[in-house]
């Protein structure tokens, strides 16, 4: 199981029946593959759809139907389409129960940076700033470090996506919860030692007495 699958599987366990969920482009998209049995969620695509599934079989694409990453999708029975203002009324109005976003950095205050590396890469924020400001719960799904540079840092060195504290950070090494007191280590990935986590983390972690192993499936 590679790092991305570990992350996606663990995030999927945060899905609850009836939730409206927005998955960011890239790694977060994988979460849709691991929805637990018995859990029914609605996925929103910020470009204007609720209720869609992964790519349709080849040859069954529709040129008016893509997800926010530009990939072909299929609308499910019971889907609803809407314009961008309505889509972001859903996002900013607190109607999205869970947003899962990728990240470049998260700091000790739980602030996310995800949309630019000054002087290097400026793709733009798309809907990320709205999602972090408006979704009921925000999970950052990202690899723990980039080329052994920690992505979890004491203070952001990249421009923040929002002032708001995210709800949870899920990496291939650990589950970390930003709190008033700081970053709390909630779970370790299977086979991962404390030192693996500490060595790859650039911020102080609060370690409770008990740090259970990260579950990767609900079965």
């Amino acid at each position: 199981m590679d790092a991305k699958e570990i992350i996606a599987r663990r995030v999927a366990l945060e899905l609850r029946d009836g939730m409206l969920v927005n998955l960011g482009i890239g790694l977060p998209t994988l979460v849709a593959r691991f929805v637990p049995r018995g859990v029914s969620v609605a996925f929103q695509s910020e470009n204007g759809l609720i209720g869609f599934s992964a790519p349709p079989p080849e040859g069954m694409e529709n040129s008016d139907l893509i997800d926010a990453g530009g990939g072909w999708i299929a609308a499910l029975p019971g889907a609803a389409s809407f314009d961008s203002a309505t889509s972001f009324a859903l996002i900013r109005g607190g109607h999205v129960d869970l947003a899962v976003l990728g990240g470049l950095q998260v700091d000790a205050a739980g602030r996310l940076a995800s949309w630019m590396i000054p002087g290097k890469f400026t793709p733009g924020m798309g809907g990320a700033m709205d999602l972090v400001a408006g979704a009921k719960r925000v999970i950052v799904a990202m690899q723990h470090a980039a080329k052994s540079e920690p992505k979890i840092v004491e203070t952001l060195t990249l421009p923040p996506t929002a002032a708001r504290r995210v709800s949870l950070i899920v990496t291939e090494l650990a589950v970390i919860e930003p709190t008033n007191e700081g970053l709390v280590l909630r779970e370790r990935a299977p086979g991962v030692g404390m030192s693996d986590i500490f060595d790859n983390t650039g911020a102080r972690l609060i370690v409770p007495e008990n740090t259970p192993e990260m579950p990767l499936s609900s079965d």
Partner: protein, 219 residues
Amino acid sequence: MRKNAITAEAAAALVFDGASVMVGGFLGVGSPDRLIDALVARGARGLTIIGNDTAYPTIGVGKLIEAGCVARVQASHIGTNATTQRLMSAGAIDVELIPQGTLAERIRAGGSGLGGVLTSTGVGTIVAQGKQLVEIDGASFLIEKPLRADFALLRAHEADYYGNLTYRLTAANFNPIMAFAADCVIAEPDEIVPVGVIPPDAVRTPGVLVTHLIARAHC
């Protein structure tokens, strides 16, 4: 995502005395008549009603006024209901009159996570009293606060069992925006159809916004 249809009586039992309640409709057209009748039947008290008007004494929201269910009204127009005017003059009902467009935008703001509405409507009138004015590019705008409610009672044309709604002609009016702006959204459709019968582009209110559907009258 699936909604079980409940009776109007069961829904009326949820709407607690003293609740703030948005009610769709324009002079009774597009109002949830069975929900209103059920609220009258259960003897609801102390409600704050948010809607365009109070219709007529025997129609729509007027029935709630007539039955003494209402302590407060936030509406754009009460000229068609002599009872509302009499109770207001007698101090038995508190009425806040709001320009219709401002009412629509305040509800939309409440449902969309906006901090308020910047509008020129009402500047230089009684409506502006006690409200913050801001200057933007040389023009003055009132800040009108977002409106939300404990409940939104909607009338729809069709619903499917995911809660997706359609409306008809001038019966839509405030219903689609109220669907965003309440903690509990109860929709009374003319008909409930199987999931998949309403095409995605025909959906005017995505089902994720709807908490409860009212079952057909005789089933």
